[in-house]
Symmetry: C2
Subunit: 379 residues, 2 copies
């Protein structure tokens, strides 16, 4: 028995901000544009600026010229400056389709205006394209390519750290003090050479790394843990890699060593639990349990949280963060074909911080690794 029929999807977004728009049309469009599905075909309404390119290179079956609808809108509403709501209203009339399903991040302004023009827009109660979560072999390969770029970044960092000299409280490489900025530049160039853009790269040492989203700045010190988190976007596919390693140049203390070993043990425990039909919360709790057993406490202090206070993993694809989630805060049943990060971490100002992150594709058995870089960390 077929399920209730969903209204067709409708988007208004640029592909830099909306992975759904890129997934739907498979072409990059830098300004917001209307796109919709109808009876199995994909439609886009784009300006002359995009028309030829979108018609030639996209997955859209029908590409409509925006200018034609703007002209019609000016005739119909001579006292308004026509915008996407007016265009949508005319397109909907031409295709005799008044009801659409829009994504959670559909723009509120267009939602209100289109409804005022009589359109019935329903906000999807979850992903607009649930299939986006399940990665095809080609999509998994594209994510693997992103992770190869992350790995090139680690190799660049490791090369500099290994070649650096320890003098006092500083590292020197080719006569220059080694800094977060210096290492991020080496990572970003390595990614560019491989055809990917690494934005917001994290290279944070010591107490800086205890803020998980602190990107890091200034000198990297010897004998301190340095978190390196690289999530590049491969330009020709739009897919991301996302990997983290933690390095230390010099000699680790017992406390640092216990921290790193606990994080890697938690990661392995989580990887063993990551499979189809598992609850993401249970995967997360494997990490919580490893940390508990080893005496690593999570708590809120006056300066912020310490311990393990983020989720264990998130979906990865055209967005860096997408469904599913593996976290203590939500229930999420993993599906075969999903791609997730597995990235426990521990953060203790004074000792330092460690996070180790890999990417796997969920199967009914052991997960398929889509990332590869070694786990040596002290040198």
């Amino acid at each position: 028995m077929p399920g209730p029929q969903l209204p067709p999807p409708l988007l208004y977004a640029d592909t830099a901000r909306s992975p759904d728009a890129l997934y739907f049309g498979r072409v990059e469009v830098p300004d917001p544009f209307l796109a919709f599905g109808l009876r199995g075909r994909r439609y886009a309404v784009v300006s002359a600026l995009e028309f030829g390119r979108v018609r030639r290179t996209s997955a859209f079956d029908v590409v409509l010229p925006l200018e034609r609808f703007l002209k019609l809108a000016r005739e119909r509403w001579p006292r308004r400056t026509p915008g996407p709501a007016e265009v949508l209203s005319l397109v909907a009339r031409e295709y005799r389709q008044n009801r659409f399903r829009v994504p959670l991040d559909f723009p509120a302004g267009l939602l209100d205006k289109a409804r005022a023009l009589g359109l019935r827009l329903e906000v999807a109660d979850g992903p607009l394209f649930p299939d986006r979560e399940i990665k095809t072999p080609a999509e998994a390969a594209a994510i693997r390519e992103g992770n190869r770029c992350s790995a090139l970044g680690f190799a660049a960092v490791e090369r500099i750290l290994r070649a650096s000299r320890i003098r006092g409280n500083r590292l020197y490489h080719r006569g220059r003090v080694v800094t977060s900025e210096h290492l991020k530049f080496a990572i970003e160039v390595a990614c560019l050479e491989a055809g990917a853009i690494s934005s917001h790269t994290i290279v944070a040492g010591g107490d800086q790394a205890c803020d998980p989203h602190e990107r890091g700045s200034g000198p990297i010190r010897p004998h301190e843990l340095v978190i390196v988190d690289i999530f590049p976007r491969v330009s020709h596919t739009g897919f991301h890699g996302d990997m983290t390693r933690t390095f230390l140049r010099g000699r680790a203390s017992d406390a640092q060593r216990a921290l790193v070993e606990a994080v890697r043990a938690a990661q392995l425990a989580a990887l063993r639990a990551t499979r189809a039909n598992a609850n993401g919360r249970d995967v997360h709790n494997r990490c919580v349990e490893v940390f508990r057993q080893r005496g690593f406490e999570t708590k809120v202090t006056a300066r912020g949280s310490v311990g393990f206070f983020h989720g264990t993993g998130h979906g990865l694809g055209l967005a860096v963060h997408e469904p599913p989630r593996m976290s203590g805060l939500v229930d999420y049943t993993l599906k075969a074909g999903s791609v997730v990060t597995v990235e426990p971490g521990l953060y203790y100002p004074g000792v330092g911080a460690c996070r180790i992150e890999d990417v796997v594709q969920v199967t009914t058995g052991a997960p398929r690794m889509l990332s590869r870089y070694h786990y040596h960390w002290e040198f």
Copy 2:
């Protein structure tokens, strides 16, 4: 007499997608978070992952821990997975503020859910922060810094093109065929070295450039016009540059020369008209008029549009495209302090394409140039 009081602003966005969120909080937050104003103070609700960093480095006066509201939400609605709507509802109750103004791109899902929980959300009929359009001297300097990065990119391209040898239908540099990819890499490295990320860089030659948003690929040919459009984001400020130059290595034809001269003449005409209280449409029409006088026709062909078929300029700041617009399609009165691009172009498959783009700050007199690179194009 004071005007009608607007409800306070409310945002739910990450700062990579929402320049408004970055403008409001002056801190980068990679995942969507709630932010609002109340009686002149700025509030953010963030997770433990962001808490310390946001409290230390942002413009927010009050930083609230997301986890506390999630806990309250689970108590109040035990059968729901709490999300931003439930958190917002509890925050609104705590601060006794039920009415907010949200931006046009506020997420539709949250809009509908929050309204269902009794909140009164009004979508702003224009920019949420109209002051964002008017750039302070520090913001203008940040845009100038972005344009310096664009100029470093042009210098890198020019250096390679000048040093390249023409052999048949190819250019060779250090024994390698010069390609769009090769030149984009040189640009992106030059920007990285200067602290900026250049995404979606355009280096398109010949007929490829006749699609204004085609990024370009494959060999660059001698004697063809090559459009180079660089709009980097400076990492430490979030502000963009945006400049375009058109180069040709070899010898230009008379038709190519007439094209480039017309575009530069149109740009100068538009710059003369760009001032406070001018209508952006009139600035645009200066370009249209220059092209008409010189016999360059704009029309739609079976393969797409030819001639001049995009706007003359757009606002530039934390977003690459923001208000105001200077285009034939909209009325927009320019304000002193706005920063706009001025970028006419001509596109004729067979001859090639040219676009020249600079950035100015609008004043009551001649506009203040915020970009600088020479206009030699044939070498």
